[in-house]
């Protein structure tokens, strides 16, 4: 299921159909013209849709490089025809004065450890669910997967109460924030890991269970321990699944607003999403800030999209059941 298409399949069938239709109707040039017209309209409709889909993002990108006065005075499309006066000032302003540089770092500090932690914890559990025998295995697995139905909103207040009780307000050196609980990076890591688990365990268990049984049996016969099997056999064989899951998990956390909004209220520690949302509420129509900030937050996801398109698509598709 990749975006890379089997382009060959469609055109190959086209000529035969064409010939058949000609034979049947007997009208040569006229039906050929009809064929051309329908082919032509397919292109027109499709290109219109592609343009419509790309214009919004393109408008944002162009505007983010325009002078604030230009943005307020004339539409972004004028920048393409008129004199070329692009500037990096908006980015400079947003990064230095509007704290977006810090917010970008915060997003990274939140997303990277959360992704790694959630995959590690999920892989361990999935391994146990797939290959170990213990009483209540299926019951527990169903319970965990059943948590997929829980909207994150539902958990916010109870978890916030718990976090309020366990907050350790010792400042962490370098990355900043509390040691744990509210307004702390470790608190965000643990929360994102927990919220990602039901889906990650679900996906990985199914993948692990599909690995050939012989592999495990011969490894155990050779005297390998469970830990060795996990790190030397299971994880290396699951590369593509882990990559897809990792990308999905990373994007999900990178793009999250709600969890940060509740557990990470301190503007100094806010990730990009929250920082932009605050920017929208305070500078609603100052598009020079908004466009540049939004594009900074999109840069990494877009980079991942173009660099790892295959895994990316698989990850997003697999993740779609999570909702």
């Amino acid at each position: 299921m990749t975006i890379r298409a089997k382009v060959a399949a469609t055109p190959a069938t086209q000529p035969t159909t064409l010939k058949r239709e000609e034979e049947r109707s007997g009208a040569g040039p006229l039906s050929l013209f009809g064929k051309f017209l329908s082919k032509f309209s397919v292109h027109v409709i499709l290109i219109l849709i592609i343009v419509a889909w790309s214009v919004p993002t393109f408008a944002l990108l162009v505007s983010s490089f325009r002078e604030p006065a230009d943005i307020a005075r004339s539409g972004w499309w004028n920048a393409l025809t008129g004199s070329w006066s692009f500037t990096l000032d908006n980015y400079d302003q947003v990064l230095s004065q509007r704290n977006m540089g810090r917010a970008f770092m915060n997003s990274l500090i939140i997303s990277v450890p959360s992704t790694i932690l959630s995959i590690l914890v999920a892989a361990m559990a999935a391994y146990a669910f797939a290959w170990m025998r213990f009483p209540g295995r299926n019951m527990l697995f169903l319970l965990v997967v059943g948590m997929l139905v829980v909207p994150v909103q539902m958990t916010l207040i109870p978890v916030l109460r718990i976090y309020g009780d366990v907050t350790v307000d010792t400042q962490v050196p370098i990355i900043g924030g509390n040691l744990f609980g509210i307004n702390s990076f470790p608190g965000m890591w643990v929360a994102h890991t927990a919220y990602g688990l039901p889906f990650a365990i679900f996906l990985l268990r199914n993948f692990f269970a599909a690995l050939p049984r012989d592999l495990f049996e011969s490894a155990y016969l050779d005297g390998a321990s469970e830990v060795q099997v996990f790190f030397k056999i299971v994880l290396p064989l699951s590369g593509p699944a882990l990559a897809a899951l990792g990308i999905f998990q990373f994007l999900w956390i990178w793009n999250d607003l709600l969890i940060a909004l509740i557990y990470m209220g301190d503007p100094e520690l806010a990730p990009m999403t929250l920082a932009i949302r605050n920017l929208v509420s305070s500078f609603g129509t100052q598009y020079q800030f908004l466009t540049a900030a939004a594009f900074i937050s999109m840069a990494l996801p877009l980079l991942i999209f173009f660099a790892l398109q295959r895994y990316f698509v698989q990850g997003v598709l697999a993740g779609s059941v999570k909702g």
């Binding site: 975006i3 298409a5 089997k6 382009v7 069938t13 159909t17 049947r24 082919k39 397919v42 499709l46 849709i49 592609i50 889909w53 919004p56 993002t57 408008a59 944002l60 307020a72 539409g75 914890v121 361990m124 669910f129 170990m132 527990l140 319970l143 948590m147 139905v149 829980v150 909207p151 994150v152 909103q153 539902m154 958990t155 207040i157 978890v159 890991t193 927990a194 919220y195 688990l197 039901p198 199914n206 793009n255 607003l257 999403t273 932009i276 949302r277 929208v280 598009y287 939004a294 594009f295 937050s297 999109m298 996801p301 877009l302 398109q309 990316f312 698509v313 598709l317 779609s320 059941v321």
Partner: protein, 300 residues
């Protein structure tokens, strides 16, 4: 069970316990100090504060999201998948439409705030609209009905939920999720055997008939899968509405109203009840989709 311990304890603390606690809280008063029976659910049904907490509007808006967002995304996804399958730049077309999937709802909200901007010298959509001779519309604030799209006339307020700003919000959701539908549907279309299609052509069916009688019935299961995902998205949707309108101008949905009740008005009882209502809608759909996924995995 050291392998399971970290996962199970996290799930217990962050998911299982909060659900139990929220259900309990939904039967308690605003600061969770005493039990009030079904009062909070009655609040949702009776809608006693239509100005500050319009529960009916939120439910109706969510319903509109569910139907329009899901329906249009699937229909558009199928159209694009079919058309893209007939051209050489298929991969490019699908990428262009899939890109919005990568960005956050917050970034999408900024993009579309800019598109919907009232000033026709800034907002792209109003620039086009005014070029075509109509008046610029404040798309995210306008609570008028569909007739004002064309004439700028008619009642200022249209009965919930069919107001312009709801459709504007939903169209942003559609922009983000169509790529998802296209990619899955086009994989489904590739799975239809070319022999069947050829046979239909030999029998004299035209392209239109082939689509509706041969392709469409075979693609229905795929469309059901996509629809369940989209329905869950529509129900849980929060970020888009929160950033674009904050639920003002009658655009609240259950998730944003829940946020306002819980964290702004500090009415934990009603907030919890709204969350439980949301869960009640999501559970059956999710169960069906998990079961189907499980069946697929076993068949593999």
């Amino acid at each position: 069970m050291l392998w399971l311990l970290p996962a199970l304890s996290l799930v217990a603390v962050f998911l299982v316990w909060p659900v139990i606690d929220t259900v309990r809280r939904s039967f308690m008063n605003s600061d969770s100090t005493k039990y009030v029976g079904f009062d909070n659910y009655r609040f949702i049904i009776d809608n006693p504060q239509p100005i500050s907490a319009d529960t009916h509007a939120a439910l109706l808006n969510n319903l509109l999201w569910l139907v329009v967002f899901t329906g249009v995304t699937v229909a558009l996804g199928l159209t694009i998948a079919v058309l893209a399958g007939r051209v050489r730049y298929e991969a490019f077309a699908k990428s262009a439409i899939f890109i919005p999937m990568a960005i956050s709802f917050v970034a999408a909200a900024v993009i579309w705030r800019f598109m919907f901007e009232l000033n026709p010298d800034q907002g792209t959509i109003n620039a086009v609209v005014t070029k075509l001779g109509a008046e610029a519309t404040p798309w995210l604030q306008d609570q008028g009905g569909p007739q004002t799209w064309f004439t700028n006339q008619g009642p200022q307020d249209w009965p919930q939920p069919f107001q312009i700003n709801n459709f504007a919000l939903i169209s942003v959701g559609i922009w983000m999720w169509t790529g998802f539908a296209v990619v899955i549907l086009s994989a489904g279309l590739k799975g239809i055997s070319t022999e069947v299609l050829e046979a239909a052509r030999v029998d004299g069916a035209n392209e239109w008939q082939i689509f509706w009688r041969v392709i469409f019935p075979q693609i229905i299961p795929t469309m059901v899968v996509i629809s369940t995902t989209l329905v869950i998205q529509a129900l849980k949707n929060f970020d888009l509405v929160f950033v674009l309108t904050g639920g003002r101008y009658g655009t609240d949905i259950v998730a944003t109203l829940f946020y306002k009740q819980s964290f702004v008005d500090r009415n934990f009882g009603v907030g919890a009840a709204l969350a439980v209502v949301l869960l009640a809608f999501v559970v059956p759909i999710m169960l069906v989709s998990i079961r189907r996924f499980q069946a697929q995995e076993e068949a593999r």
